[in-house]
Symmetry: C2
Subunit: 162 residues, 2 copies
């Protein structure tokens, strides 16, 4: 259940484009603004382009820009573009898994996990991030102080956080 560097970079680059508004922005500027290795970022931007999230033009005055208005692009869109499905179990969509016997209800749990992820990722747009006005659901989830704490318990958690 981890967010890869690629997905993180993709969202950050997209936010930067959202903040820039109209004109094309060079890859180099995105890389500097968000401190991302340029050549790696170019591959990511290419994927975002292939998935129709952004557009690009080459040459002097070239660069990248959002294909849609910033308030119509969600984090889920960007993450899916570079990582594929948001919540898979053993590389299979949760509703497609068959559990037997006592584990039968587990499928519903994984479906609920996916739904809860979607409720966050599909409701935050790039425009929200730029403006700093996050949707209610995020405010609610981050309001509790526990939300900001790594859970305690096993040695692994103490070492790696959670």
């Amino acid at each position: 259940m981890r967010v890869s560097a690629k997905a993180d970079y993709a969202v950050r680059a997209a936010v930067e484009l959202a903040a820039a508004g109209e004109g094309p922005v060079k890859g180099e500027r995105l890389a500097e603004a968000q401190d991302i290795p340029l050549q790696f970022l170019e591959h990511i931007l290419l994927e975002l382009k292939h998935q129709g999230i952004i557009r690009a033009r080459r040459g002097a005055k070239g660069g990248y820009w959002l294909a849609r208005p910033a308030d119509e692009v969600t984090i889920a869109d960007v993450v899916r573009a570079v990582e594929g499905p948001i919540a898979d179990v053993q590389s299979t969509p949760p509703e497609a898994i068959q559990y037997t016997g006592n584990a039968e209800k587990l499928r519903e749990v994984w479906v609920a996990v996916r739904a809860s992820l979607r409720s966050v990722l599909e409701n935050v747009t790039l425009a929200d991030l730029v403006s700093g006005q996050l949707p209610t659901i995020v405010e609610e989830l981050t309001a509790a102080p526990e939300a900001w704490q790594a859970s305690t318990g096993t040695k692994e958690m103490v070492a790696k956080g959670d």
Copy 2:
């Protein structure tokens, strides 16, 4: 954002133990009941034991059993025992990341993602799974028909589901 085979196996084995009640259950029986490769499962059970989720005894009449009552062991406990932190960004807990400029609010989003995962995983116990009575939050999240559908859009999603 995927659930590994290991985590899935771990939960299924734990549910099987919860269903068995008191007496020790052989690894072989768990493997058969849930169709998990035995030798792989043994490694997983060992980790669960090290993390204090289960106990074990060797020899004839030996086997594994839950260290705590089934209604006091959550899916989050089991998943954390074998996978570590439930929601990391670039192998770092979300609250520890520093974003600059336009991406500043992204940290809150990842914290919200973790909180939403916890709201599901920390509220479902092994006893819930065995009884088939899942907590309200899961019922709510799985009630909507969209929750059971892969999202449509990119070619990748059509191919791999979501």
